[in-house]
Symmetry: C2
Subunit: 208 residues, 2 copies
DNA sequence: TTAAAAGTTGACGCAGCGTCATTTTTCCGG
DNA sequence: CCGGAAAAATGACGCTGCGTCAACTTTTAA
């Protein structure tokens, strides 16, 4: 009877409630951040929204900053498969860029849908930006996509890091302004961003 | 003898020390932010760095957030004349864009010079972005410059808000990556950003 | 069945908050 | 130059949120 021992992979009651508590805290935090804004939120506010004790919070996160980081990381993790899908379907660089921008702007609109319904004024006023592992992974993926998809004849000495940074900078800033307009027009933002980047690419090389 | 009464314009001891105290607080805040990071900083930390009493701080600012906003606003205010200069010298759109990017990247490099010498790791880790009046003014100025300088034949239905947003997004994200490289190369970032934007412009219209 | 390991709890001491009655400094008309 | 009024600075005070930890409960596995 000494065959395959039970592999202890998240089957126990322990692991179950651990994951549940973690999710509970994250959800509570999302709710409070959305209601009163990130800066104003205290760890106690988050705890109150759960039915956990103060001490328990600190078994999961060190601070509200860490909670925020986890939320951001999770967001990026949810976005990653969408990007993967775009990559799979896209035939050529231009299609990829267009699809990636559309995916991002749509994602942004969806994520902020509820926050936009209720008047959450803090959305743009104070912006906290974190750089999580998942986000770095997204950056790196896009950089590799760019390197792979761009015809090396057109841009021999391309600085893919800068180009990726520029593409993401456009996405972020344009995304903010897109959300500020009513109604939110994902297609328009997509067209604008992709046209700009694709045409801009042709001006780049400067092989001095 | 009843001629010109002393114009009460910041000549008194009162106004002098008021300005001095304000500057003192701002400088202390800059120092603490740079040393231990924005999030970790407390109002008390800032006060300790000055020789003012706790209560005095609140005569000038409501919170550390407001201090940060003032610092950011001041930065933007310092940048504005540089941009004005670029505008005055520039002949045509392309020269303006190029000059504006150079001015920004140089400004960024200068401002972060000391922070880069000492290893200030928080520079990129947690980024807090505020939107101050001066910053909005810079945005609006650039938007107007763009509207004025772009040949209406080339881009009849240009969305100048989106274009400005894109230009600024490129500047911000590219700026971060420029600072992360050693040595910091302002000219390279300038060339990259302006080439991209200027060429990108030609792809924009999409007059559907 | 049981004992050790893992996890939860909430009260506690402490630090930072913003206020405000009091004191100090500056201003200005006489 | 004086004196009182206005402006500004002071720091002690009450309060709130912080992170910890010894005691307690639940889960695990032998």
């Amino acid at each position: 009877m000494g065959e395959a021992m039970t592999i202890p992979l998240s089957t126990g009651k322990r692991a179950q409630s651990k994951a549940a508590n973690r999710q509970c805290i994250l959800e509570a935090a999302r709710s409070v951040f959305a209601r009163i804004g990130y800066e104003a939120t205290t760890v106690r506010d988050i705890i109150r929204e759960t039915n956990l004790a103060a001490g328990t919070f600190y078994n999961y996160f060190k601070s509200k900053e860490e909670v925020f980081e986890a939320i951001s990381d999770e967001s990026a993790a949810r976005f990653r498969p969408l990007l993967k899908d775009v990559r799979a379907r896209a035939d050529g660089f231009e299609e990829f860029i267009c699809g990636a921008y559309r995916a991002y702007f749509q994602f942004l609109a969806d994520e902020n849908a509820e926050a936009l319904d209720k008047g959450a004024p803090h959305v743009a006023l104070i912006g906290v930006r974190v750089d999580t592992p998942e986000m770095q992974a997204v950056f790196e993926e896009i950089r590799m996509d760019i390197e792979r998809m761009i015809d090396p004849d057109e841009a021999p000495q391309l600085d893919s890091e800068y180009l990726t940074a520029a593409a993401i900078g456009i996405a972020r800033e344009l995304g903010d302004h897109m959300l500020a307009r009513s109604p939110v027009d994902v297609e328009m933002a997509t067209t604008f961003a992709s046209s700009l980047l694709i045409a801009g690419l042709k001006g780049l090389p400067d092989p001095s």
